[in-house]
Symmetry: C2
Subunit: 231 residues, 2 copies
């Protein structure tokens, strides 16, 4: 049992609560038994920790658990995982061009999984998918998706066989008139500013969701409605 | 200019950051110029406060502003408002039976407004709509809707002329097969437990959203997809 928060391994692991260390080490943490088991299933679990004595888990004190977890309520299990790297391109792709709110990102991942957008591209200006709030809101979807990272414009320029849809009211077609394609990608932008200008310049086919009396929808809502329609 | 956080009026107003005082006084606070102006437009603004000197606002010190606002970042305007009471029944009604997360509630209000569900019933077990996080996530939709409060079962029993839809995979019909009705209500339940048992017993027409590989959607996503479809 690891008792001390000064244990060198624990000190190293606790650094993964910060995004830049996750990126450097290519490792992240998940909280709760359900997510630890999902991580194990897909082969990214390195080590599991629990405040209770049980098989497959390294037992740690409550103080150690507090040091390696992020939620206010006491967590009983934490999993140390390596980054999920599959690097394939499925037929339906969700492209997140600067989504910043962890709740929106996690919810979008959950919806992408539900509606068959199994590859998710994350731009450099988006929130870190390995953020604990993203993982929680994704409800395990993070382990069922394939992620790619980089500059949105460079990525879209490679998608020659794909129809790429954007979201912009200005020159958009109403969602009901849009036909799903075999190979397609949907770009969603930042909560405040939408899709970045250089990406808007790429001649996307813009979609809008008809609505009354409201300027815009939450990005996770808009994205999920469109993915449901296109699935 | 009100300088002191011990000013009796300020002390009274700051209590409205707590739900039980809001309910007792039938008053609430909004943060930011946009929401203060929306409140004024519909006639529920009692008094507006700002850290700057400007017409229509009572000037207050930064310390006072901090005492009557809830966000970490410094707010410049706060509006003291009375509860929004219209007490009418529109043709499309959203019924929230125990939605607990303020972000989900606010997002659902924003979508309800966008898709024409202009009356929202809030059950006694749901989060307070006048919570600052709900108001922020609603993006001003709170001022464009008509709210009713009470026990969900009692309310539904009064809706004799309405088709009442529920959300339950168990005996539900896929969303695509559902026809909108002139007078209809949609019931959404708690994030963990769904619609309460006594409400499920009321013979709702259940809807489910077809999906792969995922147990459920976030309630704000599911509700918004259904409202979009039924609008």
């Amino acid at each position: 049992m690891i008792q001390s928060v000064d244990n060198p391994k624990i000190k190293e692991i606790s650094k993964l609560l910060i995004s830049k260390y996750r990126k450097k080490e290519k490792k992240f943490l998940v909280e709760g038994k359900h997510l630890v088991e999902e991580a194990k299933k897909i082969g990214v679990l390195i080590e599991a920790f629990s405040t209770e004595e049980k098989e497959g888990y390294t037992q740690v004190s409550q103080a150690v658990m507090k040091k390696i977890s992020n939620t206010d309520t006491l967590v009983k299990e934490v999993g140390l995982c390596k980054f999920i790297e599959k690097n394939i391109l499925t037929n339906h792709i969700l492209i997140l061009d600067g989504v910043q709110d962890p709740g929106n990102m996690g919810t979008l991942l959950r919806s992408a999984c539900a509606f068959g957008f199994k590859t998710v591209f994350i731009s450099n200006l988006s929130v870190d998918i390995y953020n604990d709030k993203v993982i929680r809101a994704s409800q395990g979807a993070i382990f069922k998706l394939n992620f790619l990272f980089g500059e949105t414009k460079d990525f879209i320029l490679q998608l020659k066989e794909y129809k790429v849809f954007g979201t912009n009211v200005m020159n958009g077609k109403p969602l009901e008139t849009i036909q799903p394609k075999e190979k397609m990608a949907l770009v969603l932008g930042n909560e405040g500013n939408g899709i970045s200008k250089e990406v808007q310049g790429l001649n996307l086919e813009n979609i809008y969701i008809p609505m009354d009396n409201t300027e815009s929808l939450n990005v996770a809502i808009a994205g999920s409605i469109i993915m449901y329609h296109l699935r």
